[in-house]
């Protein structure tokens, strides 16, 4: 049952942060909340036993793509609005509360004797790196190569679009 509790908790976090991404007027806040949303989505992927995809979600989405977004936001100086002073204490209190909740939930997992983190479900091993890599280089070799071509095209297009005209 702890698994479903985790699911509902992180689903609520995902949806709330997605809602705030959409509603927030400040682009920088939106971007940071989107990173938060991606992290909780990665946890949902973990609960679905998609281990490699959860890592990729954090590495590519929360890492690479959002850094790109933040760079563009900074470059265009969109986040010029000042931080509200009266939110500061609320912010500190809230982040402290969240850290404590996170720590306690991790503690509960480690202290409960049943191995919640290692529940095998039959012979389902598709989420691991081995099965995924093998499929990627045998059955899905052509889409894989096409994807690399697509990335090359996107790279060239981006460099062409972003460079100063000479």
């Amino acid at each position: 049952m702890t698994g479903s509790f985790f699911f509902y908790f992180f689903a609520a976090v995902t949806l709330t942060s997605a809602l705030l991404v959409v509603l927030n007027r400040n682009a920088v806040y939106s971007a940071v909340l989107l990173v938060f949303c991606f992290f909780s989505l990665a946890v949902i992927f973990l609960l679905l036993e998609a281990y490699f995809l959860a890592i990729l979600e954090i590495l590519i989405y929360a890492g690479a793509i959002m850094v790109l977004f933040l760079f563009v936001i900074m470059l265009l100086s969109l986040g010029r609005e000042k931080a509200q002073e009266h939110f500061r204490y609320l912010q500190r209190g809230l982040s402290l509360f969240l850290v404590i909740v996170f720590f306690l939930s991790v503690l509960i997992i480690f202290l409960s004797d049943s191995g919640i983190l290692h529940q095998p479900h039959g012979t389902f091993t598709a989420g691991g790196v081995n099965a995924l890599g093998e499929a990627l280089f045998t059955k899905y070799l052509l889409p894989f190569e096409v994807a690399s071509l697509l990335l090359l095209v996107a790279l060239i297009g981006t460099v062409y679009l972003a460079k100063r005209k000479v």
């Binding site: 609960l47 998609a50 989405y61 389902f124 679009l161 972003a162």
Partner: protein
């Protein structure tokens, strides 16, 4: 345990939020964030079907390609937004209407 329908509902809600963002935001970068939410909703559906719907490995491979596409799309779209800003001095997508005239 949580069943397939719950995951699909989560995916649908994420998708709707992304659509809402794409429609309501004026800021070009924020519109792109809505697109990212939509792509992630598709990812949630793919992985949920892989786990519950017998789509085994294909679901994971598909969401892998969705992530690759999202990376390429974000890079090109942000370069286009930079160009719009250089040419028009704004990234308000309502004001970028030169093609309309």
């Amino acid at each position: 345990m949580v069943d397939l329908n719950t995951y699909l509902v989560i995916g649908a809600l994420l998708f709707s939020l992304g659509i809402f963002g794409v429609i309501t935001r004026r800021n070009g970068v924020a519109v792109l964030m809505g697109v990212e939410l939509i792509l992630n909703a598709a990812n949630v559906n793919f992985v949920a079907f892989a786990r519950f719907g017998g789509m085994d490995l294909s679901g994971h491979i598909f969401s892998l390609f969705v992530i690759i596409l999202a990376a390429a799309e974000a890079a090109v779209a942000l370069a286009i937004i930079l160009n719009i800003y250089n040419n028009m001095g704004t990234i308000n997508i309502d004001e970028a209407d030169q093609l309309k005239q």
